[in-house]
Symmetry: C2
Subunit: 110 residues, 2 copies
């Protein structure tokens, strides 16, 4: 692995909002509209973060109907390390699962 590749990975992961997104993705695929309330940003902001993560090869997006479901890309050479790092951080206040448990149905109804 080249130094610039490691740099790209670290730069992409080194952002609070993106870390929140990645943390949520460790629980499985999520669509943008479910991530938006989680990170407290507008939808375009979340999409841009996802693009950054995608360009770094950390996540992949699968279009299904109207929605794009984002997941951690398990093929990334540092995937396991990323998951390991995220596991050290306490779960966020409100995960997508929490929102659903509270009756606040996710936008994509999954």
């Amino acid at each position: 692995m080249e130094l610039t590749e490691l740099e790209t990975f670290l730069k992409a992961a080194g952002d609070g909002s993106r870390l929140k997104i990645l943390q949520q993705l460790t629980s499985g695929p999520v669509c943008v509209c479910d991530l938006t309330p989680l990170v407290g940003l507008t939808q375009p902001a979340v999409s841009q973060h996802l693009k950054r993560l995608k360009d770094a090869g950390i996540v992949t997006g699968e279009k299904r109907g109207r929605w794009t479901f984002w997941s951690l890309d398990q093929l990334h050479p540092l995937h396991d390390i990323m998951v390991g790092l995220l596991s050290r951080v306490p779960a966020p206040g409100r995960t997508v699962a929490d929102l659903e448990a509270a009756g606040e149905k996710g936008c994509c109804g999954v």
Copy 2:
């Protein structure tokens, strides 16, 4: 470990010049004047990178005479992970050891 702490770590490590510095530090303490030719920047630039790394708790500097010797801080909670990441990257073209082997004595004469 809090999310912001992880973010600080990733931001500090997510820079090519700083990665080169960290890579060199895995071989032991080095002074600024030896790092400067290695990263190809001016001395103030290197000092500023070191400050950034120090503020993140990744490195420590020990003043000895005229020189400051910088090392990886083994007390950092992510020290081992950092070393693991750096080990994935091929060694730079010219390490401090190489410079010395070529007869180019380090500035601090160590």
